[in-house]
């Protein structure tokens, strides 16, 4: 599904990723952990094609294609979804319209017709139920006036509607209290099927109590310094990162 080889990337001329290697197969769940500033968010931005990040070396191959030259929207249409750590507010743009537009962009790309308003309403209600979100997410401007937790929930709603092949969730658990975390984590669990691959970028082990990763990687200073199974996450929770970094 996704093969990252020796990936180096700069932000404002400073090297942040210093040779990342990662291999993710269909249906696998990978957790990427690491201290602040280790390059976790950068990795998600580089894979999704954010223009502020300059790739200086290496390759990102997704479904057997090197995607580094593709526009962010092309990557999205090919099935890569990123859940944002800080979803931006967009006044004036209706959340529901936005969801419909994104879904239709994908359907057109796949050679399908646009979804009918009735079918879309049905789909939306179904997904709102799935993640236990109310009508609050329909008639409002995109992310405007939502709490931190609600914004994350809105990301999960988009994930549910768009059904990507690869989802990268960037610190979806940050800034959530314990109750909100539970709702969001269970939402992800409900939404992700066994055919979809998932990368969870997180600081804390607590998200992994809900979603069991197949692999855990520790990122430090732009490199993966340790990989293991979910017991690695538990060890990190107990002992912190110091034993690995130093």
């Amino acid at each position: 599904m996704l093969v990252i080889k020796d990936l180096h990337a700069n932000v404002d001329g400073v090297e942040v990723l210093k040779g990342i290697n990662l291999n993710i197969k269909k249906g696998e769940v990978h957790a990427i952990m690491g201290p602040n500033g280790s390059g976790k968010s950068t990795l998600s931005k580089v894979v999704s094609g954010h223009p502020d990040y300059e790739v200086t070396q290496g390759s990102v191959v997704y479904k057997d294609e090197d995607i580094l030259s593709f526009d962010p929207s092309d990557r999205a249409l090919k099935g890569i979804f990123m859940g944002f750590q800080y979803p931006v507010e967009i006044p004036g743009v209706n959340n529901e319209e936005f969801l419909k537009m994104a879904l239709n962009a994908k359907r057109l790309y796949q050679g399908k017709d646009e979804i009918s308003p009735e079918d879309f309403n049905k789909l939306l209600e179904e997904k709102l139920d799935l993640i236990k979100a109310g009508g609050k997410f329909k008639n409002r401007y995109l992310n405007v006036g939502l709490s931190g937790g609600e914004k994350k929930k809105n990301e999960i709603l988009q994930l549910a509607i768009l059904e990507p092949d690869l989802a990268i969730l960037d610190e979806t658990d940050s800034g959530l209290d314990i109750d909100a975390l539970k709702v969001v984590a269970n939402g992800i669990k409900e939404v992700i099927s066994k055919d979809q691959s998932l990368i969870l970028i997180t600081h804390y082990q607590r998200l992994l109590d809900y979603i069991q990763p197949d692999y855990v990687h520790v990122l430090s200073d732009g490199k993966i310094i340790k990989s293991g199974d979910k017991t690695l996450a538990m060890k990190l929770e107990e002992q912190g990162y110091d034993w690995l970094v130093n």
């Binding site: 223009p51 929207s73 999205a76 743009v93 962009a105 994908k106 790309y109 768009l162």
Partner: protein
Amino acid sequence: MSDIDISAINSEYKYGFKTDIETDALPKGLSEDVVRFISAKKNEPEFMLNFRLKAYKKWLTMDEPDWAKLNYPRIDFQDIVYYSAPKFKEEFSSLDEVDPLLLETYEKLGISLDEQKQLANVAVDAVFDSVSVTTTHRKKLMDMGVYFCSISEALQEFPELIEEYIGTVVPIGDNFFAALNSAVFTDGSFVFIPPDLKCPIELSTYFRINNEEAGQFERTMIVASENSYVSYLEGCTAPQFNTNQLHAAVVELITLEGAEIKYSTVQNWYAGDRKTGKGGIFNFVTKRGLCKGDNSKISWAQVETGSAITWKYPSCILKGDNSVGEFYSVAVTNGKMQADTGTKMVHIGKNTKSTIISKGISTDQSKNAYRGLVRVNKGAKNARNYSQCDSMLIGDECAAFTYPYVESANSSAHLEHEASTSKISEEQLFYFEQRGISREDAIAMIVNGFCKDVFKQLPLEFAAEAEALMKIKLENSVG
């Protein structure tokens, strides 16, 4: 213009073609003789000639205004043709007599003058280089007591109405361009709505500049009698020339007691080359409405997407008690366009109310200024105004300015003003793109959201046209 095929609007400026048609034109230059020639050519009553001559003399004493936030070379008023008309017979008994080239031009613009193909609920007055070509649905309107014709025809048929109202809202010496227009205007539309009639069809005028050297000076007048209502639409396009054409129109609206006029404009004059700024229309327009009677209302809605220079402040004089003035505006500038636009709301009567919603969008190296005045006179007890002026910047090289002036001589007035400036950020666009939505669609969606409060004031077909135009204007404007 309401039946414009949106799917066909996909090029940068699809109205940039010129029609090769024989015209009857004066040589360049302005003098008292030219003013007399125009009046004689139109066989005008004497009061009209006197009005023009008075305006011309006044104009000679006036200076071109320079207070607006606009940079452009001084206009040489002797280098303009003041009369240019497509050559045709004085009157047509049917459309068969109209030059097919003209009909074709309007078809190309998406406006059918053919009785068979006309929209049932929209009447059109087509003005080509300052001369009215034809007005559709005339008879149907006449039967209801509505006069909708060119102002030249109105001068022949209802001179007393023109004499009563012309210059009462925009006096001849009001400003430099209004004085010029008063002296040399060649045509425009005239509307009269009889008492107690809610005009069931939309009236529209479609202005087309074709001659490279001619200035376009139209004069539009709408009189709404007691308790009547009319919705009027105005659209404008011009060919692409490397030189600038001057457009200096005057619009006067009058509402009597309990009457309402809704005036909507989609202005899409050629704006000049987007990269070099060469060519384009200089649009210096005076639009003003007088709420003469109590409980009357005038509402302006404008979408300004064209012209190299826009200098335009559709205003309301709220003279009648409880009268209402509204101004809804979207002005979008790209390339090297400059817009200085806004409104004046003058509160004279008691309990008068005004609303101003202005949305300015700038991109490339363009400049976009809102300039507005809210004045509450001494006798205007309990006057209310709400103003909201929002600017949106796309890119780093454009500029937005807001000049809200408030003068209140009555302490019972309630005036509210809100303003904001925002920028479409790279993060916002990336968010859309990450969901598979193209940059262009993302910008269009954000901008349409920004303009929603104004678009919803437009008649339906106009709103769709406005949205499509905005999208073209903002194509390739980021990154």
